[in-house]
Symmetry: C2
């Protein structure tokens, strides 16, 4: 394992309501010095969670939400921030109920993703939700989200759609497909 | 298809050397109004590209780079920004040579990813690189990156590693595995 660079200075450069930018001064083990910027603090210190809601071993639930970054409606998986004092799996179930209108009897932490580890400190927990039942909770969404059911058989067509581009949701679906297939073979 | 919200105001809230934050005022088709923030302009308007370098139908090349966001060395795929006046595939090949020490005779655009379409305007082009040959170009990296070879057979173990967390690289590898398997069956 390589020797980590020494971070000899960290300071906040700017912040907005949602984002905070830090500047870092680094010295690599070969003596080279660099000044980097990274995005920090997105989400106010709360854990972010993404939910893969499985109806059975093939079908899953997706949401359709307006995306202000790309200025179109995009397919994604239910996701949000865990609230203060809330358990990760409870937060996942709440987001599932708010965004997709389903609750889950069985919730399981699968893995942790980063977005862009070179430039962002963000992590996202991925939770598998099974044994679903219909239940809708009122969320803070400006409009009710579209809810769509797809199957892993359709994954090649799904990832080619222009309204499904979010790499985290794709990685979560591929990962889940492999896990489910592996369990079924055992 | 849902009617898009009306964006009736966009203004820059703050910017740093690398990041630019915009505030948007939106009116959804149901009349609900919201103020959102999004990250814009990361990369100075240049296209971002990620390369999947295949040695054969099973083995691929990864890089190991210090990630200032997570403060550790992370495995990822070669990636970077296409330069002004540079073709996307030429930019992909240049990044491959700079970061991994390989060039490719065959380059193919696979798809486009977003990071977090709700909060970021960023897109990343995914390019498959095949028929590799050894060639290193001097890049702007502070130290030479680690280069490692993995196979799709090892993908389940790879995505479980704590030093491989970047969802975009995972999605690109899963997508490539499916495409290669599909082509071999035909």
């Amino acid at each position: 394992m390589k020797k980590l660079p020494e971070i000899y200075d960290v300071r906040e450069v700017t912040r907005s309501a949602l984002f905070r930018v830090e500047q870092l001064k680094l010295r690599f083990s070969n003596g080279v010095e660099r000044t980097y910027e990274r995005l920090a603090g997105f989400g106010g210190g709360h854990q972010a969670v993404m939910v893969v809601p499985l109806l059975d071993n093939n079908r899953f639930v997706m949401i359709e939400e307006y995306a202000a970054g790309t200025e179109d409606y995009q397919l994604s998986l239910p996701k949000g921030l865990v609230e203060a004092g809330e358990d990760l799996l409870d937060g996942a179930n709440r987001e599932l109920k708010e965004e997709a209108g389903y609750g889950a009897e069985k919730l399981e932490h699968l893995t942790e993703f980063t977005l862009s580890p070179n430039y962002m400190t963000h992590h996202m927990q991925v939770v598998l939700a099974q044994n679903l039942y219909e239940e809708r909770l009122e969320g803070d969404e400006p409009e009710q989200l579209g809810v769509h059911i797809f199957s892993f058989d359709e994954l090649p067509e799904l990832v080619a759609r222009p309204d499904f581009t979010e790499a985290r949701a794709m990685a979560a679906l591929y990962l889940t497909r492999d896990i489910i297939q592996g369990r079924n073979q055992n």
